[in-house]
Symmetry: C2
Subunit: 372 residues, 2 copies
Amino acid sequence: MAPRFSVTYFVRAADAGEAKARALDIALEQTVEIPRDVVPKGYVEEEILGRLESLEKSPDGRPGFLATISYSDDDIGGDFPQFLNIVFGNSSIKPGLKVEDIGLSPGILALCKGPRYGIASLRARAGIGESPLLMSAIKPVGLSTKELAGLAHDFALGGMHFVKDDHGLVDQKTSRFDERLRACVEAVGEANAKSGGKTSFVPNVTGPANAVIERAKQAQEVGAGGVMIAPALAGYDVIRTLAADPDFTLPIISHPAFSGANVVSPDCGFSHRAFFGALHRLMGADAVIYPNFGGRFGFTREECLSIARACSAELGGLKAIVPAPGGGMTLNRVAEMREAYGNDIMYLVGGALLQETSLVEACRRLFAAVHA
Amino acid sequence: MAPRFSVTYFVRAADAGEAKARALDIALEQTVEIPRDVVPKGYVEEEILGRLESLEKSPDGRPGFLATISYSDDDIGGDFPQFLNIVFGNSSIKPGLKVEDIGLSPGILALCKGPRYGIASLRARAGIGESPLLMSAIKPVGLSTKELAGLAHDFALGGMHFVKDDHGLVDQKTSRFDERLRACVEAVGEANAKSGGKTSFVPNVTGPANAVIERAKQAQEVGAGGVMIAPALAGYDVIRTLAADPDFTLPIISHPAFSGANVVSPDCGFSHRAFFGALHRLMGADAVIYPNFGGRFGFTREECLSIARACSAELGGLKAIVPAPGGGMTLNRVAEMREAYGNDIMYLVGGALLQETSLVEACRRLFAAVHA
């Protein structure tokens, strides 16, 4: 028998009988997808068929049960999308089911080497000790490359450790990808020369299927300090592929665009910690952007902290990564965020800085507030 | 000014004032993602910023409004993932928003050539007139290539027009992708030689990021009759890339694995017709698999029929595609489905046929029932 990994699902159900029936359905649906009475005896039934390992009433008061189902490493077939398919392929379409947690196995860990860098290396790149990291974004779409590079320069001069493309910046005619990449790497380099800082420029390489890997490698050649990818748009295996590529050496920052439905509904998708924490670490993201509590998105403080904890909790020996909450962050929320997150965080502040008269000064005030 | 495309969102809101505020937030969030007071005058404000075109109370009784927002073709940047990002990138993370419909523009139609084949060509391949198509799936994972090829043979001999891999079949050690592909193409060819039929074998090419396109091209070389891809796993641009590739000539069938959260919640994601209809046609899928009503998934009859209608409704001149409802389909539901869907459908029947003593006979009974 091969080793098995496990998935714990929240199963909406009125009673234990209904929950058990639904859990056994998941075990069937996610593996053999045929009626129970025709599952072939022997290898298929004993190895491939999902196995209900435990079932208990949901301890947090939600109207349902937690069902843990184990799956065979043999079913993964060396294929991360197939791993996701086993975790939640067809069952994602059934209301009242949610992936709560994932228990690893040797097969998953052989496939997913995890982040190449993680939080410790990102801090080393930024030249800081165990203090928070700072990131900002050049925007909006529609500005010229010169204007965007000017923003990148000022963010760097103001002390941001990472300056990224807005996730909507791709290859628009107002600022072509390759032109912007070169101009921003150069602008950040100039600011570093002035300040003695070590700011990295991080282009958004999310793009057409045949361009993502190419743009990521171009970013490396030109001297960028990382790349940003939105896995829900680019495909869930792209980050893993890049993180495992021995010729690719940049940190990877993930962006949550288009992934919202996977987490916002209490009735489907994933728990916040499983999606933004465990899955993104397995993919190999070094930092994970997600919407902060109290901003313009609806995540609660507890959901956000569950993501932050999942970024560093023991997970098969994979490196701890950086939670990067953003979305409506302002300077006067720093105290509250420091209290909530502590030091293992990357503050992503964008629009609020652009509202200030002097961008460089605004960045410096933010830097001071975060490191006070 | 560039042409504009539009997106109609359902916006949960208590009154028109709240709805308008939320709609203006979407217009900002999906384009410039900075506070309204710092949006640069001129090109950014006039061209790039989303524009609220209309707002009306939801006519179907849901507690909210329909907001139509237009976006500039300039923002797409020749990039389908960026188009999706504009449609619903960050706003996917806000509860109480749903993409209802998409209004096309020249920019989208330049980017999305749509399905290469569509329903008429799939029927021609199958050698039938304006009658329903039939598809089945070889499974489960864990069977040997020989056993799976035997099933493919029998499905073909029984009259199924398309025989596909189960979406969980990838490159497991029990049946390697290339070995299964060759064996199944051969087995279906043998059955066709016996029956005079024109059954196509359709391998699942969803897989690692660097393998999908390669496996699709391998399928073409070996003589498969189509490929199946789950876009939510493989990435939303892969089908479009293949459909637009002049050297790739196979029909593409999409599978809904891992996409459930995008449709099942009333509070987030897409309407069924926008997701499985419009988006899949824009991607270039020739047939779209989705869970049928009354099976083991929760889609309603009306949701399913809205998908079927969206597969053939006028959409920028793109070809009509085939709705392929499946998931718990049995022989005794044929009458009900014929009444609901008419002839423009591909019946996807899998597990129910495997429960019968003679697979070939079961397929023939299904064929007869569908064409009676």
